[in-house]
Subunit: 409 residues, 2 copies
């Protein structure tokens, strides 16, 4: 049985970052990985830009009454030169007229008057005030964002300003999700004797969706070989196939055999962690990947955070970590009898008084998924460690979809 670190290494060595590029509209690029260098085709600002509503002046003129020679709203290019003794009315965003070397805000004047009238200037203003110079922020030809960046709102703003609509992004993987087990029924059904509702198919769908992807649900594969084979063959046409259940040692666990038949080379079957030990990872010779995760919901959720999410991000060349690896002060003690595995416990992690605290959630084991609704992350217990004391430092991880509720009041 391999360690978590070895499993992650195998995944890193196996998953090939895509070289395929999509050209997508700017609104659709959010949350994707940029696949081109963003080079500015303009100076920003593109002209000496007025940053306050007021009058463009010759700064040496000082207070007094000055003739207004032009009215320059944003979007209009000035046509008159401001000579000493004259001013032009300017709005925020407008280009500074030639001759002027500063802008006095309207609040420091007698107010706006029409062209041809005289404006009352109340103060002397320093040269360069309330002006953004041409190219002050970005020069034409500058490399502003490197290929490989993750596209957030700030990047969208830059892409829009520099004319990158559409924009080149690395291809996102397609992800198919299959829940297996004869005992599973749909959430809308009432389970009969021996049955439970399918929850993993839904939680893995949500976890994938939280990565800004649109997964495909293959529904529930029953534990008979033909149905499973059919669904797995369909799943194998996707970049990632995520299968829950059917991967432990049971003799009806057909999944590993079918995965091999369909062309996956299975690289590991078990990882020395709790929950989530019987996790399978494989790759096909056409570069498609499969994860098999245990059928219990907490194992499936933790396996997604630890292994599947990084794999999907590597595929699309996105930065891997969006959840913190952090050090927290433990609020309640922890004991365990069997310390052979690395263990992850659901925790509520908070930032308070200048430090992270982690409160372990009451948790009965990997089937106890209701506990996860009280948690926003996990705390790690290292192998061989059977006791964690209250107030000791522990390593935690916030889920990427964590929240820290703060009351409105």
């Amino acid at each position: 049985m391999i360690s978590r670190q070895s499993a992650i290494q195998i995944i890193q060595d196996t998953v090939k970052p895509t070289t395929e590029i999509d050209t997508v509209g700017l609104f659709e690029s959010y949350g994707r990985t940029l696949a081109e260098n963003i080079i500015s085709d303009i100076d920003i600002p593109p002209f000496n830009r007025v940053t306050m509503d007021g009058y463009a002046v010759v700064s040496s003129d000082g207070p007094g009454l000055y003739s207004v020679i032009e009215d320059i709203p944003a979007g209009k290019f000035p046509t008159s030169v401001v000579e000493p003794g004259s001013v032009s009315k300017v709005m925020t965003g407008a280009p500074l007229p030639d001759g002027a070397d500063a802008v006095i805000q309207v609040e420091k004047t007698g107010g706006f008057v029409n062209v041809g009238q005289s404006a009352q200037i109340n103060e002397k203003i320093r040269k360069g005030q309330n002006i953004s110079s041409t190219g002050e922020d970005v020069n034409k030809g500058d490399l502003v964002i490197k290929s490989g960046a993750y596209i957030r709102s700030a990047e969208i703003s830059v892409l829009a300003s520099m004319g990158y609509d559409p924009v080149k992004c690395y291809r996102n993987p397609s992800v198919a999700i299959l829940a297996t087990g004869d005992e599973l029924v749909a959430p809308s059904q009432k389970p009969g004797p021996g049955q439970i509702r399918n929850s993993n198919g839904y939680s893995m769908f949500a976890q994938t969706y939280s990565l800004m992807l649109d997964p495909i649900s293959l529904g529930v594969g029953q534990d008979n070989e033909n149905d499973l084979r059919d669904k797995i063959e369909r799943g194998a046409t996707h970049d990632f196939l995520l299968v829950s259940g059917g991967v432990s040692a049971g003799d009806r666990d057909f999944v590993p055999g079918i995965l091999r038949d369909v062309g996956y080379d299975l690289l590991f079957h078990k990882v020395n962690i709790k929950p989530g030990k019987p996790i399978t990872f494989g790759v096909s010779n056409n570069g498609r990947y499969v994860f098999g995760v245990p059928g219990n919901p907490v194992s499936s959720m933790v396996a997604f955070e630890l292994f599947i999410k990084p794999a999907i991000r590597w595929f699309s060349r996105a930065p891997v970590a969006d959840s913190l690896e952090l050090e927290a002060t433990l609020l309640n003690e922890f004991k365990r009898k069997n310390a052979s595995r690395e263990e992850f416990r659901p925790a509520l992690i908070k930032w308070e008084n200048g430090r992270f605290t982690a409160e372990l959630i009451q948790y009965h084991g990997s089937g106890h998924f209701a506990a996860m609704t009280k948690a926003n992350g996990i705390v790690r217990v290292d192998p061989e460690v059977d006791y964690l004391a209250k107030d000791q430092k522990v390593t935690g991880k916030l889920f990427s979809e964590f929240y820290l509720p703060i009351d409105k009041a």
Copy 2:
């Protein structure tokens, strides 16, 4: 001019959390606010559930050869009682047969054999081992998630297990976005003299989208009264109208007047922060809200984080904070001449060596939006403070869409 705290108080006092409820499919409920208590209609596990593949045994029997009387996969209900001297083959997820009080994992036996044959049991196992008892995690009738919870993957898992498909959620607000300014052209166009590309319309769209909402873009409103009035009237049919530009003191800034004409009561116009001072907030008598933000991109982005995001979350009764208010060690000093306003500076915030560090990004002012692509949060400079020393503690905020890049290598 009011403080940020007063502005937030006015927003809190004004925005009414919705009482309208949507009934949506489980896949669509992700990222929404739950509008019903989730009560379990079943025990979880619904039966004494086997947690390992192996044999169901009478624990007092101990090692030896035992007759296999039944084969119980997951999803099948047992029909035979396990008497002392007999065992049943059981798979993970299956119900424990009557008579048995423990499960021995297959690895501690001679392996699986067929019904009628004898199984080799190699170890004595304690009563209750490898069994999850009926109702151990949840009892029928338990309140498992309270109305008002934010729906993440963990909640989706519980909703699926308890049959809440569809599920009741509070209505999400509709959000319309309008960029204003004669100087704006579409990203795909090359700006002429005096023109710039519309970026705020795009970044506010992305910021709204990051809240799992689908905003409506109203495009660009030109600085003439009729076009603006037409677009603002359309925007006023949405719960939130976000207008960028046109809200400062310029005499062509028709926006505040039109907002009033359309029925908005404007509650504030300026907040004592930098960037983002000329921010407008209003409410109509039919309970719709408007924000006007400055036309420069950094102001618009910061105003969204500080004011618009909390307002949208209050509307939909979601937990407000998903980005941290944290204390960080400043990596570079900061000086400013005019310390009258509370200021927010773009920063790269990292968790390293057991503490947050904040590196202020080189930043020329509120038009310098390219700086935001280097940042994952902001650092606050309090009013009256004109100097922050290297290594001193500062207050920061991570953007909700922050990332902490970690190299694959």
